[in-house]
């Protein structure tokens, strides 16, 4: 919403600069996102009157104009524009004046001097038109020499509002913003006049009837007619207003409709009355396949989802979105039908999105428009049309209002307002704030009085006696009430129901003290109703204008009070709460420990996208039936690359490797601990298990001047996994040869915890590596996190620090190549028994010096007894058992 400061000042008398106003509104929740000068840099440009013109002797397209620039001065100004006529009022940028980006001087054009230039809309940056000179409307109050910036309304500031959803509706008009200003920073609202001078002996009902087939989509339709108008350009002040709001002046009728919308928030549409067939307006859903040409010349094919305004023969407008070509106001139009209606926001938004027709009108309907304002807006437009375009206003409105909107009656417990905000306001101050927002604040006794009189006779408003009914009266005052008798009857029924419902709520609030009684009696029973029962303190009965559709319950009022008082007035307190033991969940703790362990081991944590393209599973070469190919797909993805939820971390981690390798960062050690998403048969929601992924490639340590290269390999990766398991204290982990098609068949293992496979580690298969466009070998692991958590020791197991010396023995042996090392180690440990403290493999060799099919392994064994020094005599039989056990596995001992 763009708000012209000068224009706003028409509706509220406050003495604040634009800057001060912007600051104070922002602090109160009406956010002024930008405050910009309306003047793009026009300075010293004046109104000029063309007094004579002739063709340039040396150029066919140039005109030589004599321009009266005021003060008796006539300047020769040349122009290439072809729309200038003698007598026209034009912007004259005289020598020394400034246009956005340039300063004017005297310039020779084909031999003749031009003293400055005449300006187009585009040159003044007030519009897009760059073909012709901006011709000012011939008005009496425009004189040569006047400052064009003043005339065009450029000496102004624009407040660009960024409105939150709850203020969006009632702040989308100048009057609405003025009401906010008055409430928040003070000042009186000056409402626009909405009377009309109706032509005698006319009745709009003779000219048009309204039929609403879809009250759910159109709750109200008000029509007025103005006859005998003359279409033409709007006066300068009106054009300036329309421009200030960022819209384009079209003609007096369209400009007035837009002006009233901007001023009062009610979108209007104007039809050429003569083009409405059958003197009838029908609001209905379109028929499937119905065709209709909108005023942009596009033929649209409609269906039942589209709400149309039709006449006796067919659609004349897409309701609240765009009018039709056939019924558009043209230069020949003489009779105007004004539509001031209320359309459903959701349906309106869908239609405007569907046909890609965003407009100021549909924007307003989407955010919500107050149906109570329909009549006043129609009146305002009718009167302005009569004033600015001539014609006579036909008496009366047609007002079809099948679903009336009535003021809400909301109860406020003042104690609760202070209790929620931490403020300490008196009930009087709260009431004053609410009143400043146009609400009426009454007491429970008032509501009781209303209820005691029972439902009013709701014949015609004029005949109704409001006296003795304070709440009922307020409901008539806060927002305009329909004057049409039928419309009023339905309004009054709904309003009384609202009042009664408020009475019931009040009775139940006071219920504890008064028993089960509901209604007037119960309320009166609570001590005259002036003060509510118990902790609630005083209760205020608040009647809310219909324009504040965002206010429905008590906390809504509390927010308004806090906003008016100022959030800066809320004291700052530390929460006084029972002390609680804070902390992470166990998973959170362990996750953090794992992250720290991996980072401590020199790995860098990465964070990859949860959304992936499903081709990643093809790149990995996963078989068609691989469970990782069962993924969740987005119904409305934004990008193909982000269209499904990952079922594994590996693709994201490999992407990171490729990204960095492509940027010459070839030595990588990375990890990620994050969630994957796996659909579960028969369940609405997927599992979201936490996974750990690792990747190593390139050199392990950063290269230095004296450190040897140590390329990543399987064992470096396995070492990281073992480190993590050790840091977490995971018990019962084992590695087993595995068959995973993503990995090198000879260099991969499954990680088992408690005998159950939980993931894999290994070298990426060369074909996968190639498909992923990775130049070097990459070592990757991915495994589930939860099993690690389940297998952790609760804490480290302490053994006393040894007091007696250890005895070391080395064993070297030749074994068959396919005998796995973990079997040898297991045999050593078993045979070594309680005295064997440490087993460390310190050499592995295969090659020339050992026989084909064999390899040499050497272990360093450390024996120790906790309570004595081991003697050779004691050790020998134990160590011999170890040697025998190794021999039993086929080892040929070499030492």
């Amino acid at each position: 919403m763009r708000v012209s400061y000068n224009w706003l000042m028409d509706y509220v008398d406050v003495d604040l600069s634009p800057q001060e106003l912007a600051e104070r509104l922002t602090a109160r929740g009406v956010v002024v996102e930008n405050l910009v000068s309306a003047n793009p840099g026009v300075e010293g440009v004046v109104v000029g009157r063309v007094v004579a013109m002739e063709r340039h002797p040396n150029a066919d397209t140039l005109w030589v104009c004599q321009v009266d620039v005021g003060g008796g001065e006539v300047l020769q100004i040349l122009t290439g524009a072809q729309n200038v006529t003698v007598g026209a009022l034009v912007p004259a940028a005289v020598p020394g004046s400034k246009l956005p980006g340039m300063t004017m001087g005297v310039k020779k054009l084909r031999g003749l001097d031009s003293h400055g230039m005449l300006c187009s809309e585009a040159e003044l940056k007030v519009g897009d038109d760059e073909d012709g000179i901006l011709i000012l409307p011939p008005e009496e109050d425009l004189e040569p020499g006047m400052d064009i910036a003043e005339v065009l309304g450029l000496n102004d500031w624009i407040l660009e509002l960024d409105l939150t959803a709850n203020y969006a509706a009632h702040c989308q008009s100048m009057v609405g913003v003025a009401q906010e200003v008055a409430a928040l920073v003070g000042g009186e609202v000056i409402a626009p006049e909405t009377y009309t001078e109706d032509a005698p002996d006319t009745d709009v009902n003779d000219l048009i009837s309204i039929q609403i087939d879809t009250p759910d989509l159109c709750s109200r339709y008000v029509a007025r007619v103005v006859r005998g108008v003359k279409i033409g350009p709007s006066p300068q002040w009106l054009q300036a207003r329309v421009r200030a709001a960022g819209m384009r002046p079209i003609n007096n009728i369209v400009d007035i409709a837009n002006f009233v919308m901007l001023e009062m928030g009610q979108p209007l549409h104007t039809f050429d009355y003569q083009k409405i067939r059958g003197q009838k307006i029908i609001v209905r859903r379109a028929h499937s396949g119905e065709r209709f040409t909108t005023l942009d010349g596009q033929e649209r094919v409609l269906d039942e989802n589209v709400l149309v305004i039709a006449d006796a023969e067919g659609p004349v407008a897409l309701a609240g979105v765009m009018g039709g070509e056939d019924s558009e106001v043209t230069d020949e139009t003489v009779d105007i039908l004004i539509e001031s209606a209320h359309f459903d926001n959701i349906n309106n938004r869908r239609t405007s999105l569907r046909y890609n027709l965003p407009s100021e009108a549909s924007k307003r309907f989407t955010k919500g428009v107050d149906p109570s304002g329909c009549v006043a807006a129609a009146d305002r437009a009718a009167q302005l049309i009569a004033e600015l375009a001539g014609g006579m206003v036909v008496a009366g409105h047609v007002d079809a209002y099948p679903r009336p909107t009535v003021p809400s009656v909301v109860l406020l417990r003042t104690e609760r307002a202070n209790g929620l905000t931490g403020l300490k306001l008196s009930p009087e101050r709260m009431a004053a704030h609410l009143q400043s927002l146009g609400m009426v604040v009454l007491k429970p006794a008032d509501l009781a009085a209303d209820l005691a009189l029972g439902a009013p006779e709701t014949g015609e408003e004029a005949g109704e006696d409001l006296s003795g009914r304070p709440v009922w009266t307020a409901m008539h005052q806060v927002s305009p009430v329909p004057s049409d008798p039928d419309a009023y009857r339905t309004w009054a029924e709904a309003a009384w129901a609202e009042l009664e419902a408020a009475g019931k709520r009040l009775a139940s609030l006071m219920g504890a003290g008064v028993g089960a009684g509901v209604g007037a009696g119960a309320i009166e029973g609570a001590g005259g109703g002036l003060v509510g029962a118990g902790d609630a303190g005083e209760i205020l009965v608040v009647v809310v204008p219909t324009r504040r559709s965002d206010i429905a319950i008590e906390v809504d009022l509390i927010e308004e009070i806090a906003r008016c008082e100022g959030y800066d007035q809320i004291p700052l307190e530390l929460p006084v709460l029972p002390s609680t033991r804070g902390g992470r969940t166990r998973q959170g703790e362990v996750k953090l420990a794992a992250r720290r362990a991996l980072a401590g081991a020199g790995l860098t944590e990465v964070l990859t996208h949860s959304l992936v393209h499903p081709r990643v599973y093809d790149l990995l070469g996963l078989p068609e039936d691989d469970p990782h190919r069962r993924f969740l797909t987005l119904a409305n993805p934004m990008y193909d690359d982000r269209s499904t939820l990952r079922t594994m971390l590996l693709p994201g981690v490999l992407d990171v490797v490729r990204y960095n390798v492509n940027r010459q960062i070839r030595d990588l050690a990375i990890f990620e601990i994050s969630h994957v998403y796996r659909p579960v048969e028969g369940e609405l929601l997927p599992e979201e298990p936490l996974m750990v992924a690792l990747a190593l490639t390139g050199n392990l340590a950063p290269l230095g001047w004296n450190s040897p290269e140590r390329p990543a390999d399987f064992f470096a990766l396995k070492g990281v996994v073992e480190h993590l398991l050790a840091e977490l204290g995971v018990q019962g982990a084992r590695f087993e040869r595995s068959e995973n098609s993503v990995l090198h068949p000879g260099r991969q293992a499954a990680l088992l915890i408690g005998g159950e496979p939980v993931g894999y580690l290994g070298e990426l298969h060369p074909t996968v590596q190639e498909r992923w466009e990775l130049p070097g070998r990459v070592y990757v692991a991915e495994f589930a996190f939860a099993p690690l958590m389940d297998a952790m020791l609760p804490q480290a197991v302490y053994r006393p620090v040894p007091r007696f010396p250890a005895v070391a023995r080395d064993v070297a042996m030749l074994v068959d190549l396919d005998l796995p090392a973990d079997r040898l180690e297991a045999a050593i440990r078993e045979a070594g028994g309680g005295l064997l403290e440490e087993v460390r493999l310190f050499d592995v060799y295969q090659g020339e010096r050992v026989a084909e099919g064999k390899r040499s392994l050497a272990y360093h064994l450390v024996y120790r007894a906790a309570d004595r020094t081991l003697t050779d005599a004691e050790l020998e039989p134990v160590h011999n058992r170890v040697r025998e056990a190794l021999k039993a596995l086929g080892a040929e001992l070499r030492s």
């Binding site: 806090a562 959030y567 809320i570 307190e573 033991r581 020199g602 949860s610």
Partner: protein, 343 residues
Amino acid sequence: MKDQLLKLRDEALAAIAGVSDAGAIQEMRVRYLGKKSELSRVLGGLGKLPTVEERRAMGALGNEIKQAITQALDAREAELAAAELEARLAAERIDVTLPGAPVRRGHLHILYQVIHRIEEIFIAMGYEVAESRQVETDWYNFEALNIPKGHPARDAQDSLFISDEVLLRTHTSNTQIRYMLEVAKGRTPVKIICPGRVFRRDFEDATHAMMFHQVEGLVIDKGITLASLKGALTEMARGLFGPDVGIRLRPSYFPFTEPSAEMDISCIFCGGKGCRTCKGSGWIEIGGSGMVHPNVLRAGGYDPEEVSGWAFGYGPERVAMLMYGIEDIRHFVTGDMRFLRQF
């Protein structure tokens, strides 16, 4: 004999003074002091001296000379050892300005570092960290948070849907509801902080991401007020940005809170005087907050007549970007080592 002894002494001392090799010292010790040395031989003739006085005088002289030679040898040996050490140390001199042997340094992701820091601030105040699922039902993500179907807030948070009923959560607020219903189950106080990953359907650029994170706080108890929200947020802001930072609440709108407030911190760059980052206002917008809407309390199984609560939420990406001057939100997910290794 005396002359013989004195000559021997002078000879030995001269020789010792001329030694330049530590190894030769031992040799000389043998040569001048050993059993087969000239000195031993000469002193062996003591017995042949005629008088007791002469024997005593010569014996004393002999001992004197032995001592002198021993001292000279020890001194020379120490001198040589010192020189040798000095020479060795001089030879072992290195260029200490050469770089040290590199150790591979690991890094926690900067975003998680920031999230951990936020968690720590609240844990110290007795908050529990709660997490919940990212793929969520419409009810937990919207309905229970007072965002019924057709509510404009649904448009503002363009969602990524799996089906009509299931979507990627658009905020961490689902954790509020899940915690209330599944963990707290009506117990008070509730004091939680909920970090997590969220998703929106958005174009991706330097300031917008489809996937980002939020940290949300929720407190429920009897008598909770906006004033204590201000207090908790101030603690948080100071924990993150330093003791001089202030906060400001501005009225705003969120469907799940009423009253609602936008929370600003005083600009950490200019201290509130106004600069480019804060667009001259002195304040930087951080996130949203407010008193939990009665409908949300009800959805979580609490009676809004009995208890009240507040909640707040903001993006740790934004906090990290402010703290370090990071210019592009995409850095967090591209995995560029030139970015990640800086933290």
